[in-house]
Amino acid sequence: MTVLLFTLLVWLVSVVVGFLGALTGLGGGTLIVPLLTLVFGVNIHYAMGASLISVIATSSGAAAAFLREGYTNLRLAMFLQVATTVGAIVGAFLVTLVSTAFIGVVFGLMLLYSAYLSGRLPPEVATTGPPDKYAERFNLNGVYPAAGGQQPYQVQHVPAGFAVMFGAGVVSSLLGIGSGALKVLGMDRIMRIPFKVSTTTSNFMIGVTAAAGAGAYLKLGYIEPTVTMPVMLGVLLGSMLGAKVLVRAEARTLRIVFAVLLALTGIEMIYKAVTGKV
């Protein structure tokens, strides 16, 4: 395969992945690494570098649109980013210590978990519960625009959520992904933040977390410009197109197809890692 053909094919695949990611709201970034390694035979470290950069592209590209709608909780994002960015640096240190097989297996598990998450729709529940003292101390509670006017919400279980966010940061740099799945776990299920707030807030956090990892990746030599170029340009274009198509469609069938795709890729990734082919 010549450089030209490689670049064009990787670009095309990245457009599709970015498009699907934006359309399903699941972030297609998780598929970049398996595609580059399993289909194009790219070394997993270069694949991780290209993937992490593409995560920043989609996050910053979407952020401008999200900000206008008034869902993003900037204080919550900033508070949790202390955990995710420090986690990202720890992850970038860990990644130099573990084998590529280990990375492959963890990656596969992450794909399976993402598949499980995307197969089910998130609950849209108003949160009630005893006020969390840290949420009040750090002014994390907020309101968001809903059908009946401004809807207030109270953030729950702040220490546990903070810990999960640290883990999300570690995983982000360990695998070269945005680890949106873990951020959703922390914000939706543990901190009980309304879905629309957690999605947009997590989108902002993913970009900042990835930027922390990218600095470390650059020094490790993981960011190979010639591999990253078509991935970054493709994912950016694809996600912009996807955001245009996505009006308010649930895209339920698409979510299920995507979930199956994630699961199969996860199994393949684990198999290849265990048999020493990653």
Binding site: T2, V3, T7, E69, I89, V208, G215, L218, T226
Partner: protein, 129 residues
Amino acid sequence: MIVQDSEKLTGKPQEQIIGMLLRAGVVLAAIVVLAGGLLYLMQHGSEHPNYQQFHGAPDTLNSVRGVLQDTAALHNEGIIQLGLLLLVLTPIARVALSAVSFALEGDRMYVVITLIVLAVLLVSLFGIR
């Protein structure tokens, strides 16, 4: 101006400006990457790449200073890497602008929290080798 709820920043003019700057940063980064990429393809398009083995990106492309020097020398890969660096800088710029935003509101606690995040980001990008 009196601000009552904790969603002070969203929807305000400064957030709109931040959003526009973010988008401009992404577009600029994409243009630079595309320019470097096209130059690279014109010169090396018919070669056969090998990305199977990990050697690490060339040393000149592994630091901010190296990338800037390589770009100044008009090396294609340096130009691509400069575009990628610009992209990495967009969320960092957003964090920096958020610090200003919190300062304008007089929220000292969040100025400190934001500066901690900014410090971690800058150490990661420029810091210790």
